[in-house]
Amino acid sequence: MMTVRLKVNGVAHEGRCEPRKLLVDFIREDLGLTGTHVGCEHGICGACTIMVNGESARSCIMLAVQADGAELMTVEGLMQDGKLHPLQEAFREHHGLQCGFCTPGMLMTALDFLRTNPSPSDGEIREGISAVLCRCTGYQGIVNAVRAAAATLRGGR
């Protein structure tokens, strides 16, 4: 067993786990933060995407021990002071989710995507969110939501 100390959404946590424990399982089972979803468990579907030290990464193909000392942000960290993040508001407004399973991954991927490309074309949005699979095939609503959120974020809200 190894000790893992890390910060999630600004809160310090410590846990002990086997080296083979996947980061996503550590977040869900040991820390009880179940907003991050586990889909394919091999880095294809993107549902488990979180921010690791400020950059998006798939938490099903990282080990918890690798995140020792890291600062993570999960979907639970998007909301600030009881207010939805502009991405969350846009997903709600533009029907960017149906069953909601891929949504945490979509939001965290879009967060990193817009950080590095604040004024994307629709083609770039589609390329950006190709990292996450939605099996409700609700991509059009998601593209609309990301486009709207980009405008809001550019406006400095």
């Binding site: 190894m2 086997e18 080296p19 083979r20 996947l22 399982d25 468990e41 091999h42 880095g43 294809i44 993107g46 995407t49 690791v52 950059e55 998006s56 990464a57 798939r58 099903c60 193909i61 990282m62 080990l63 021990v65 690798q66 991927t109 990193d112 995507f113 590095t116 589609r126 390329e127 950006g128 190709s130 990292a131």
Partner: protein, 288 residues
């Protein structure tokens, strides 16, 4: 879908990492970005006794201009390469190829050394290394050796690195200003592995072609240098007829396999189509 048991080590230096590999005598795996190895562990297709994680060795992540080329530490992230001004200026083909490597949240973790050492034949970086005639540096218990791209890739997922060696550095010759380049790829979904990819480099001298370099991804067990197609361009220039002839020749030089993603015939056809597209675009970028 959970990894089997393994011992885990996160050394701080390459020497420590090499000592660990020696201790496990071939039963340990080197963990770089983990974007290929972790899925293999989750599927239990890989069952190493131990993982030697390179992610806490700071000396393995760097991009440096040196002499006529660029040296990249093996643990340099693909996302770093994507935004590096040195890469954009000196090896723009590598920057262009990086956009095709996986997805954004893959490239934040994935590394240049990991991608090359993993030697997936449909991956972009091995094709770029091959087209540019780059080299890698491997360190082992017996010291350091430099391996040319042409000697590195043996077959599917296999290089001539030994189990006690670590790929520490990738060296690419700088592309002279005005060099034309393009990477064309076809995949079912952006970010998936290439069904076929073509890396093209052309150095123009008026209507003549001083140097042409063409390499494939996905067209066989290793990246294929399309030398006979390059020779057509170096002899006949970069006119439409020569490009058509080179693209036709390219289809004869590859021997792809059929799999669930596409038949051998389809891949051979795509090799011709994408060779032409890559050359036309490379010519448009080229000056001189």
């Amino acid at each position: 879908m959970k990894p089997p048991k393994f011992e885990y080590h996160a050394p701080r230096t390459v020497d420590e990492a090499l000592a660990l590999l020696g201790r496990y005598g071939g039963d340990a795996k080197v963990l770089a970005g983990g974007q290929s190895l972790m899925p293999l562990l989750n599927f239990r297709l890989a069952r190493p006794a131990a993982l030697v994680d390179l992610n806490r060795i700071p000396s393995l992540a760097f991009i440096e201009e040196s002499g006529g080329g660029v040296r990249l530490g093996a643990m340099t992230r693909q996302r770093t390469i994507e935004f590096s001004p040195v890469i954009a200026q000196r090896v723009p083909l590598l920057k262009e190829a990086t956009r095709w490597v996986g997805h954004l949240p893959i490239r934040t973790r994935g590394t240049v050394g990991g991608s090359i050492a993993h030697a997936d034949p449909s991956a972009e970086y091995p094709a770029v290394l091959t087209a540019l005639e780059g080299e890698v540096v491997a360190r082992g218990a017996k010291g350091e050796r430099v391996i040319k791209a042409a000697d590195l890739f043996q077959t599917y997922l296999t290089t001539n690195l030994t189990p006690d060696e670590i790929l520490t550095e990738v060296r690419l010759p700088a592309m002279a200003a005005g060099t034309g380049y393009a990477l064309e790829e076809f995949a079912r979904r952006h970010g998936d592995f290439a069904i076929i990819g073509i890396a093209a480099v052309v150095v123009r001298d008026g209507q003549r072609c001083k140097t042409a370099r063409l390499a494939t991804a996905g067209a066989g067990p290793v990246p294929v240098r399309l030398r006979a197609a390059e020779e057509i361009l170096e002899r006949d220039g970069l006119g439409e007829a020569a490009i058509d002839a080179a693209a036709r020749k390219a289809t004869e030089l590859v021997d792809p396999d059929s799999d669930i993603h596409g038949s051998a015939d389809y891949r051979r056809h795509l090799t011709g189509v994408l060779t032409k597209r890559a050359l036309v675009r490379a010519m448009g970028v080229a000056r001189g």
